[in-house]
Amino acid sequence: MFETLSERLQAILDRVGGHGRLTEENIEAALREVRIALLEADVNFKVVRAFIDRVRGKAVGQNVLKSLTPGQQVVKVVYDELVELLGGSGHRLAMASHPPTVIALIGLQGSGKTTTAAKLARYFGTQGHHPLLAAADVHRPAAVDQLKALGTQVNVPVVGDADQTSVDICTTAVREAAERGLSPVILDTAGRLHIDEVMLDELRAVKAAVRPHHILLVVDALTGQDALTVAERFNAAVGIDAIILSKTDGDARGGAALSVRHVTGRPIAFVGVGEKVDALEPFHPDRLASRLVGMGDVLSLVEKAQASVDAQTAEDLVRKIRQETFSLEDFRDQLRQVRNMGPLDQILGMLPFGKALRGLPKDLDGEQADLSRFEAIINSMTPGERLSPQIINGSRRTRIARGSGTTAQDVNRLLRQYAQLRKMMRGLKGLEGKMKKGGIPGWRSISG
């Protein structure tokens, strides 16, 4: 349909030039593209506005990683932010301490509630639970028949009678579940508009009668800008606990998910990936994020970019390891890179020999504060100290600590880390010979 966002961003930013730092000016054009991409993906415009501000704040001032283009760098920031905003994966619907657990599905007409009810029933069945389905939609023609047919497919009993009220069906279902030892009870409610007060009152009455443990809003992945209003109103009317995004098996970008999360703050528990009763999957924010910005290739792009960074970094490293010249200055450069790229652990994981290093310098992991403190310490050293840290004695240590606004303990800690890293590198050097025969991808091309 249209070229991917990553391509467009690259084109724009590469035209601006190969500057090493993202500035407000040089990323404005890129942010315009990001805005369009997100709007095209049906993220609500208010959410897009907030998102762009966030990305601008994060991106401006970032150094562009050596072998990333500025465009790729922006893509990376956008992608990371999306993943963060979309929230964690694997949200579980906790079972109540006093069964039956009651789960209510609510949403607009045709969003997928009845189908999802059956999918959930099947899912809980496979988890060793014994669910009960309640057909509480007494409005749509043959809604009860639909759930009964689906109940048969998934082997889960269904209670419901189109002549009763929705509240009666739900109360009966919960009582029956308690008697028969069934849980969870999954309530399939009628589709309704978020502005239909009469129908919202029905939901409120159901809620008051059976006090569901989880109220799930089923949102159609094809939904446009209105998703925000819909979620807001349903949340205000009855309160929602989690979201299920249905119909993600098409080519819709699913921006509604971001809108709904933004406005309710609730987790996305599952996604519907088809019409069949087994087409339900746990939610993965990373997948949706790459889909949202319209680039199935975003991951591979960033991965590729990072791989090339690694190749270069690794090449340098390898040389230094070989010559045993990895100085504190190199260490500082590494720290800088780490600060730009994310947790050290992750970076190490991407290096060809990273698996061997991973997890070892535990203290270095994470904590941005630590990294900047280490950087400050190294900056306060003389070039001679950086090259031969063994000359650092008590008085030098005090001077460095004072100069960097840290403590002598901090300086010691850094030196210990550095020593540890060097030791590890010597170990790697020994390994290198063995690896040269091949077998470890990436290593060979870099070292020889």
């Binding site: 095209e40 609500n44 607009l108 007409q109 998703a227 098996d249």
Partner: protein, 309 residues
Amino acid sequence: MKFLASLTDRLRDGLRRSHEFLGGQLDELFASERPIDDSLFEELEELLIAADLGVLVAEDFKHRAREEVMFGTVTRADQLRPLFRRFIADTLRPAAQGLRLEHQPAVILMLGVNGSGKTTTSAKLAAQLKAAGRHVLLAAADTFRAAAIEQLEEWGRRVGVEVIRQESGSDPAAVAFDAVRAATARRADALIVDTAGRLHTKSNLMDELAKLTRVVARQMPGAPHESLMVLDATTGQNGLSQARLFHQGIGLTGLCLTKLDGTAKGGIVLRIHRELGLPIKLVGVGERVEDLQTFDADRFAEALVPVDQ
């Protein structure tokens, strides 16, 4: 089309809520004291985007409005409201077309993604044609979804229209074939075929639909007379992809825009119409049989950009 005309008054009724939503904001924007500046245009663009017109159409309208200001045809902020309304109405006026019902029987296929409102729209249309004195049949060609046949049968009972059906799981093309034969034999004026919802990206399901269409066409040259894609007004930009692929696969004759009684405005039809030239033949504004209207571009534009509050 005339038989539906008396009902079009309900359109305004059905769309009133959209006025309430967008109207207040537009009022502020178009207040005549306000200077015409960048921020005004940005806000306007966002209002159009909020109605799912899509950022490209919204930007286009914004640029055109800027031109009008440049040329001096628009000098006050309060002239922008009618201007945007005109843009929308002018774009969509050619889209307002009636159903082609001349042939006896007129075969009408209801197509679209899952849950968009095909079955309900089929029933509403059947009821209205019947009320207009026509002999109508319904065909339950959704043999896949749980209780889809029962749903249409229940509607058939409610509106007093016979439903041609087979067993659940049978070949939808065979159902359509049966139904066309029945409609011909009974000298029906119209046959409305309700098909299963399917995402436009699923090629096997689209092939199934193409086959159904071929079977009908072979059986009755010229049929189907209408192949309508039923589109939920809450649909975002994906609506374009839906229309494109259904059009490619089956050859659409128009759209039915449903669920306009909510707060969504269905602005994506503008983009669809601009790109594919598809007319909008019916509008759904509720769940009752009366809640089906013909499309009126001016009223649609008014719903998006209300005249007064």
